[in-house]
C-alpha cells in the first residue's frame, strides 16, 4: 500500500514541477485539477479499507478539486478572453530551480521532524511540504490573479496531503467543512476576479496596486 501511495505522491510532485514550468494558464489549472484527482485517489489508497466514509470523502475530493473548481477557473479564463500566458515575476527556469530547492528543503525539514515510524520512509510528509511550498512559489511569483488562485489551490492540496496522515483524527464533518470552505473561497475569488476584469479589463494584479502607502 505504501508504495502505491508513494507512486501517487510522486505524481503529485511531478505536477508541482509541471505547474512551475508551464507558461500556459489553462495548463496550470489543469495540472492543479490533476493533482486534485490524484489526492482523491491517494486518500482512498491510504485509508480506503476503513470504510464508506473515506470513499465518500475521496469522491467529494475528486469532484471538487478535480472537476468543479478547475471548471470554475477555466470558465474564468474563457470568459475573460485574456492573453493565455502566465506572466511570471520569476522566469520559468528559475521557478523550476526554486521548486527543486523547495522540494529538497521539504525533505530536509521532514527529516528533522520526528515522524511516526510508518511515515519515516514514505513520501507523504515531504510531498506535502513540497506542494505547500510550490503553492507559495506560484502565489508570489505569478502575476495574474487567476494564477494566484491556482497557487492557493496547490497550497491547499499540500495541506490535504498532510491530512492523509491524520484521517482518523479529523472528523468527517470537518473534512467536508474544509472542502466546502475551499469551494466557497474559490467561488468568491472567482466572482471578485470577474469584477476585477470588468473594472480593469485585465486580470493582471499590476492594476491592483493603487492602495498603498
Amino acid at each position: 500500500m505504501g508504495e502505491t501511495l508513494d507512486l501517487v505522491l510522486v505524481g503529485v510532485l511531478l505536477l508541482n514541477f509541471l505547474m512551475l514550468g508551464t507558461s500556459r494558464l489553462r495548463a496550470a489549472i489543469q495540472f492543479a485539477a490533476m493533482q486534485g484527482v490524484l489526492l482523491g485517489a491517494a486518500l482512498f489508497i491510504a485509508h480506503g479499507q476503513t470504510g464508506g466514509r473515506i470513499l465518500l470523502l475521496s469522491i467529494v475530493t475528486v469532484l471538487l478539486k478535480g472537476i468543479v473548481i478547475p471548471t470554475i477557473l477555466l470558465r474564468a479564463t474563457r470568459n475573460i478572453s485574456v492573453r493565455r500566458e502566465i506572466e511570471p515575476f520569476v522566469g520559468f527556469t528559475a521557478s523550476l530551480v526554486l521548486g527543486a530547492l523547495a522540494t529538497g528543503l521539504s525533505l530536509v525539514f521532514s527529516r528533522s521532524l520526528p515522524l511516526l515510524d510508518e511515515h519515516v520512509g514514505e513520501l507523504v510528509v515531504p510531498a506535502s511540504f513540497a506542494t505547500v511550498l510550490t503553492g507559495f512559489l506560484v502565489l508570489t511569483t505569478r502575476r495574474k490573479a487567476i494564477t494566484q488562485v491556482v497557487g492557493y489551490l496547490t497550497l491547499e492540496n499540500g495541506i490535504f496531503v498532510f491530512g492523509l496522515t491524520l484521517v482518523e483524527a479529523i472528523p468527517f464533518l470537518v473534512e467536508i467543512g474544509v472542502l466546502l470552505d475551499l469551494f466557497v473561497a474559490v467561488l468568491v475569488m472567482g466572482i471578485i476576479m470577474d469584477h476585477i476584469h470588468r473594472e480593469f479589463s485585465s486580470l493582471s494584479t499590476e492594476h491592483l496596486t493603487s492602495l498603498r502607502e
Binding site: 528533522s112 521532524l113 520526528p114 515522524l115 511516526l116 505547500v132 502565489l139 490573479a145 494566484q148 492557493y152 497550497l155 491547499e156 499540500g158 495541506i159 498532510f162 491530512g163 496522515t165 491524520l166 482518523e168 483524527a169 479529523i170 472528523p171 464533518l173 470537518v174 467543512g177 474544509v178 466546502l180 470552505d181 466557497v184 473561497a185 468568491v188 475569488m189 471578485i192 476576479m193 469584477h195 476585477i196 473594472e199 480593469f200 494584479t205 492594476h207 491592483l208 496596486t209 493603487s210 492602495l211 502607502e213
Partner: protein
C-alpha cells in the same frame, strides 16, 4: 445552549435573505443583535450547566468573547439602519444576510471546542466578510477585497496546516489523535514537541494573519480603508478578536503541555514588532481610515504582548480585547460619519470635523483618547495591568519598549486625528449634505460609554469571569 448563539444569527440571516423589503431588512440586524443579547444573558445566567455538545460549548474565554461580541454587534447593528438608509441606492440583501452569517461564524469561533471546527469557522468569516468589504463596488474596494481574501485565505491555510501538525504531535506522542480541545489539553504533556512547536508557529502565523499582526498585517489598511465604517468596526473589533481567540487556543495547548515559554517569546516578539510597525506607518499617515488600521495592528500587538508576559498580563490582555473592540467601534463608526460628510478620507482634504459634525467629531476625538489608553478609559486600566505585569516579571527592556512605542503611536495617531478634527472646516464639507443624526451618533456614544465604564467600574462577576478566563490560559482544562 451555546449552539443557539450560532443558530440564531444564521436564522436571521436566512430571513434577511428571504424577505423582499430593502427598507425593512436593515432593522433585522439590530433585531438579531437584541436577540443575541438575550440569548447571551440567558447563557451566562445558567452557567455551570454547560455540558452541551462536546464540539460547541462555552468555556470562560468563550463566555467572555460571545458576550462581548453580542454587545459590539448590537451597537454596530443599531448603527446599520441609519447607514444603509443613506446608501439606499445599493441593494442590501447580500450585505445584511452576509453580515449576520459573519456574526454567526464569529460566535462559532468563540464557542468552538474543536480545532477543526474553529478553523472552518475562521475561514467562513473570511469568506463572509468579502462581500461586506466589497459593499462600495468601486475599483479600490475590489482591490482591497481581493487582497484581503487572498492573504487571509493563505494565512488560514497555514493555520490549517498548524492544526494538522498539532494532531500529528498527538499521534507521534502515541496518543489517539483528537482535535477536541478537552482531549488535546488532557494529552498535552505527551505531545511531540517539535510538532507542537512548529504547529504553534504555523497557527500563529496563520491566525496572526487574520488578526493582523505585523508583518502579516498588510491587508488591514487596504481593507479597513475601503470598507464602510460599520464593517471596519466589526472587523477590527470582532474578527480580529476572534482570531486572537484562535491563537489563544493554541497557546492553551502549549500551556497545557507545560511548554509555553517558546510561545511566549514568539508572542513577545510579534507583539513588539507589530507595535513598532504600526508606529512607523502611522507617522505622516494622510488617510485617517488607514491610520485606524495601523492602530488595530498596534493593539493586536498589545494583546499578544499581554499574553506573552502572562500572569496579570493575560488578565490585562483579555480586558484589553474588550476595550480595544469598543474603542475601535467608536473610531470606525465616527470616522465613517466624517468620511460621509466630507467625501474624503485624506487629511489634506478633511479638517474642522469638530465644527462640521460636532457629535461625530467629538466622538472621533474621544475615541482617539480612549484607544490611546487615556485614563479614566478602560484601555488605560488594561494597559496599566499589562505594564505592571511586565514590571512584575522584571522585563524592564520590554516595558521600556512598550512605553516608547505607545508614545510613538500616540504621536502618529494624534497628528492625523487632530488634523481631521481641528481647524477651519475644509471646503469639501460643503459638498455633501450629511450631518450628524441621532441614529448615526447614539450607538457610538454608547460604545464610548462602555469603554469609559470599563475604566471606572467593573462589576465583580465580570472580574471573576476575566480572572477565570485568564486562569484557563495558564492552566487550561
Amino acid at each position: 445552549m451555546a449552539l443557539w448563539l450560532v443558530l440564531a444569527p444564521l436564522g436571521f440571516a436566512a430571513f434577511a435573505f428571504a424577505i423582499p423589503g430593502a427598507r425593512v431588512r436593515p432593522w433585522l440586524l439590530p433585531a438579531a443583535g437584541a436577540t443575541q443579547l438575550v440569548l447571551v444573558a440567558l447563557e451566562l445566567g445558567t452557567r455551570g450547566s454547560g455540558a452541551g455538545e462536546p464540539w460547541i460549548g462555552l468555556d470562560p474565554i468563550g463566555r467572555l468573547v460571545t458576550a462581548y461580541l453580542a454587545v459590539l454587534f448590537f451597537l454596530c447593528a443599531a448603527y446599520a439602519p441609519g447607514y444603509l438608509a443613506l446608501r439606499a441606492e445599493r441593494p442590501n440583501r447580500i450585505f445584511c444576510s452576509v453580515m449576520l452569517v459573519f456574526f454567526a461564524m464569529m460566535n462559532l469561533i468563540a464557542s468552538a471546542q474543536h480545532l477543526g471546527l474553529m478553523w472552518v469557522a475562521v475561514e467562513a468569516t473570511t469568506l463572509a466578510s468579502g462581500p461586506l468589504l466589497y459593499f462600495n463596488r468601486n475599483p479600490r474596494s475590489i482591490e482591497a477585497t481581493w487582497k484581503y481574501l487572498l492573504i487571509g485565505s493563505v494565512g488560514i491555510a497555514l493555520a490549517l496546516l498548524g492544526t494538522f501538525f498539532v494532531a500529528y504531535a498527538a499521534l507521534r506522542g502515541g496518543i489517539a489523535s483528537s482535535m477536541l480541545l478537552s482531549d488535546v489539553f488532557a494529552s498535552a504533556p505527551r505531545l511531540s514537541r517539535p510538532w507542537l512547536h512548529s504547529g504553534f508557529v504555523l497557527a500563529l502565523v496563520g491566525y496572526g494573519t487574520k488578526m493582523g499582526l505585523a508583518p502579516m498585517h498588510t491587508w488591514k489598511p487596504d481593507a479597513y480603508g475601503e470598507a464602510p465604517g460599520l464593517v471596519g468596526a466589526l472587523l477590527a473589533g470582532g474578527l480580529t478578536s476572534c482570531a486572537f481567540v484562535a491563537i489563544l487556543r493554541f497557546f492553551q495547548i502549549c500551556a497545557a503541555a507545560a511548554d509555553s515559554e517558546f510561545a511566549r517569546s514568539l508572542l513577545l516578539f510579534l507583539g513588539l514588532f507589530s507595535m513598532a510597525v504600526a508606529g512607523a506607518f502611522m507617522v505622516r499617515q494622510s488617510d485617517y481610515k488607514r491610520m485606524l488600521a495601523y492602530s488595530s495592528v498596534e493593539h493586536m500587538g498589545i494583546l499578544v504582548l499581554g499574553i506573552a508576559i502572562g500572569g496579570a498580563g493575560s488578565f490585562g490582555a483579555l480586558l484589553h480585547l474588550l476595550n480595544n473592540g469598543f474603542s475601535k467601534g467608536v473610531l470606525f463608526l465616527s470616522a465613517g460619519n466624517i468620511h460621509r460628510a466630507f467625501g474624503s478620507k485624506r487629511t489634506s482634504e478633511v479638517s474642522g470635523a469638530l465644527s462640521v459634525l460636532p457629535a461625530s467629531g467629538a466622538l472621533f476625538l474621544a475615541g482617539f483618547f480612549a484607544i490611546t489608553g487615556t485614563p479614566p478609559f478602560g484601555t488605560f486600566v488594561s494597559e496599566f495591568t499589562i505594564l505592571s505585569a511586565m514590571l512584575h516579571a522584571e522585563r524592564w527592556g520590554v516595558a521600556a519598549a512598550f512605553l516608547f512605542l505607545l508614545v510613538l503611536v500616540f504621536v502618529g495617531m494624534g497628528s492625523t486625528v487632530l488634523a481631521v478634527v481641528q481647524g477651519e472646516p475644509s471646503a469639501r464639507s460643503g459638498t455633501t449634505p450629511y450631518r450628524d443624526s441621532w441614529l448615526g451618533v447614539t450607538p457610538i456614544a454608547v460604545l464610548l460609554g462602555l469603554v469609559l465604564v470599563l475604566g471606572l467600574w467593573i462589576p465583580a462577576p465580570f472580574v471573576a469571569l476575566l480572572r477565570e478566563a485568564a486562569a484557563t490560559l495558564e492552566a487550561p482544562r
